[in-house]
Structure formats: C-alpha cells, structure tokens
Symmetry: C2
Subunit: 175 residues, 2 copies
Amino acid sequence: MRDHTTTADPDQQQAGIPLFPSPDHAHHRCRNAALQHAARVCKSHGLRLTRLRRQTLEMIWKSHRPVKAYALLAQLSVQRKLAPPSLYRALHFLEQQGLIHRLRSTRSFIGCSHPATTPHSGQFLICIRCDTVAELPGLPITPGTQRTATSLGFAIDRATVEFLGQCQTCRTLAP
Amino acid sequence: MRDHTTTADPDQQQAGIPLFPSPDHAHHRCRNAALQHAARVCKSHGLRLTRLRRQTLEMIWKSHRPVKAYALLAQLSVQRKLAPPSLYRALHFLEQQGLIHRLRSTRSFIGCSHPATTPHSGQFLICIRCDTVAELPGLPITPGTQRTATSLGFAIDRATVEFLGQCQTCRTLAP
DNA sequence: TGGCTGATTGTTACAATATACCATAAGTGG
DNA sequence: CCACTTATGGTATATTGTAACAATCAGCCA
C-alpha cells in the first residue's frame, strides 16, 4: 500500500481543509483542534473525556489515515496495558459523540474531519491501494433516500456510506 | 429480533416487487428467478455456476433476509462438509457477479433483488430490530458524489451504502 | 472527611468473522 | 490421454469484537 496525499479541487474544500490533506500541512493544528472540540463536546453534554478516551482520540489523530483497532491497541499498550474491551468501549464512546468515524468497509477508525455539523454519519472516499480517506462534506442521507424511507415508514438512524476506489495518485502511479 | 414484513408505497416498487416483500408472496418464484438469472449471467461470462456456488446461492435465497456466513456454513454442512474458505470463496464469487450483496453493517449476505441493472453495488434500509432489509432501486452513487470524486481524481469502484434504522412494524410495536 | 452511587476501567475468557497456505480434484483444450 | 487452468478440500491461524464480572474512580452529600 502506497502512502501519499492529494489536494482537492479548491471549490470542493471546506474551510480551507482539503478533502485529501496535503502531506505538508501543519498537522498538529488538526490534532489540537480535534482535541479541543472533543473537550467542548463532552463538557457541553456533561460527559467525561477521560484519560483513556483522550489518549485514544490522540492516537487516532496521529494522522489523517484510518487506524485498525488492534493497531491502536498495540500503540496504546506501550504506555499502559490495555485489553480489547477497554479500547472498544472508548472507540464506541468517541463514535457516539461524533468525534470519530468507523469505516465498515475496512474495519478501521478515523477522526471526524467535519465535527462542526450536528451529530452525523459521514460519507467517505477510500482508496483501496493506499488506504487514504476523504470525508465528504454534506449529509449522507439524500432527500430522495429520505423520501423513500419515509414512504416505507422506515426511520433512519444512521448511515454507512463508503465509496471504495483509487485515488488520483495511485491511478497515476499504476493505472 | 422480531420477524415480519411491510409493503412499500406502490410507486416506490419495482416491477411489482415490494421493497419489503410481503410475507405471503410466492417466494419460490423469487428463488427460481434468482437461480435462472445466475445461470444466465455465468453462461454469458463464461463462468461456472458450480454445485457449491449454486447451493450457496439457493441457501441465501431461502428467504429475503440477510444471512450470516457461519449460519450458511452450518446449513450447507448438513448436506456436505464445508470449511470456511470454501464458503467464502463461493460468496466472493457470487458477490463479484452481482448475484448477492454483502451487508457490511451487519456482516451478512443477501440475494440481490435488482440483478437486472448492470453490475452494481446496492443501497439498503436495514432494520436494527428485526433485521429486515429493503434494497433500494437506483444507483448508490449520486451525480453529486460522482462529481466530487471526479474533481478529486478519485475513481469509484464500488459503494457501500447502508441505512440502519427501524422499519414501520418495529416502530409500531414498540416506539 | 467518609461513605454512597453511578460511571468507568480492568481482566479473563471466548465468540464471531475471515484468510493463508498447500493439497487435491474437476473441468477444458490440445 | 496429457497438460493446464480453475475450483474445492482441509488445516491451521489471523483478525475482530463482546460477555460477564471485579475493581476502581469521580462526584456528591451528610
């Protein structure tokens, strides 16, 4: 799996953050912003951003790439001994607060890049070659889908919307 | 998990097949149609619908409900001893031919209800209480999504679009 | 402070899902 | 028939995730 990033068409960007972050961006800002946002969210909901939860979130935000649960487990276990249930509980918590997303296609987790919007599921472009992910802005439930669901009496709770394919760089390198 | 079905709004239906099939429909027709379609598809692509693949498809089409791999394995093992790799190979084959879908949210497999359309990923409403699934007509990749992907140079290969929630019956029974 | 209470984490064990790898068999074209 | 490709068998193991119960921690109030 190759490792690289691409910059999006400017008018597809949001608040200056490219969908595929460029490799030379000041990443510590992303991580700090995510942590601060997490603190705010927890405080406003009367929830506790405990050490485990914070460290888990920090570890996920080491990069913009998706991370597997057992990789996280290994990394976090360097500092503190940690068993799977503890980590999964932290992951579920963070996901419920909309601070991270779980990518079902690749069984991995990634920090939420658009946490400003109301609690949401995201929609993602996932490169099957280099694993890079872009979280698309906007809601994954289209009006048409919502209409169909409503006509069936179906109440949508959450969405899993993931598009697998190849990013520009991977296609260029070996089309 | 409760077991039931709902009938869709007529104008959301396709070729007379409700999105949530009614419990009293002539299901053997669905199964037969699926098997015949599978035979046609394989023949036209020069692929072999072997005994294992056919039996796997038949077993999946016992109902319109999603089935877990290891449940299939147990059922198929009644007739023939079967190890996981053999079953997974058959499942991968059937999925690649667009004959079944893999539901990532629930780690299960279901027969494709709209096999007529070109090789496609589907989009699904999945009830988290009774496990009933509706495969929505239409393509899961909207023009907007396609536009964004194109502008990023991202080539979408396949989509996972699943909406989890509660179906009408489950909401009525215990809202 | 000290104890109560609910939330959080620790720990063990195990369930559930999926694949690597190599051997064997079955179909296919010469 | 042979050589070749495709498909299946079978063992073992990797990977992902959870159940159940014990221990601990944070906040609160007498």
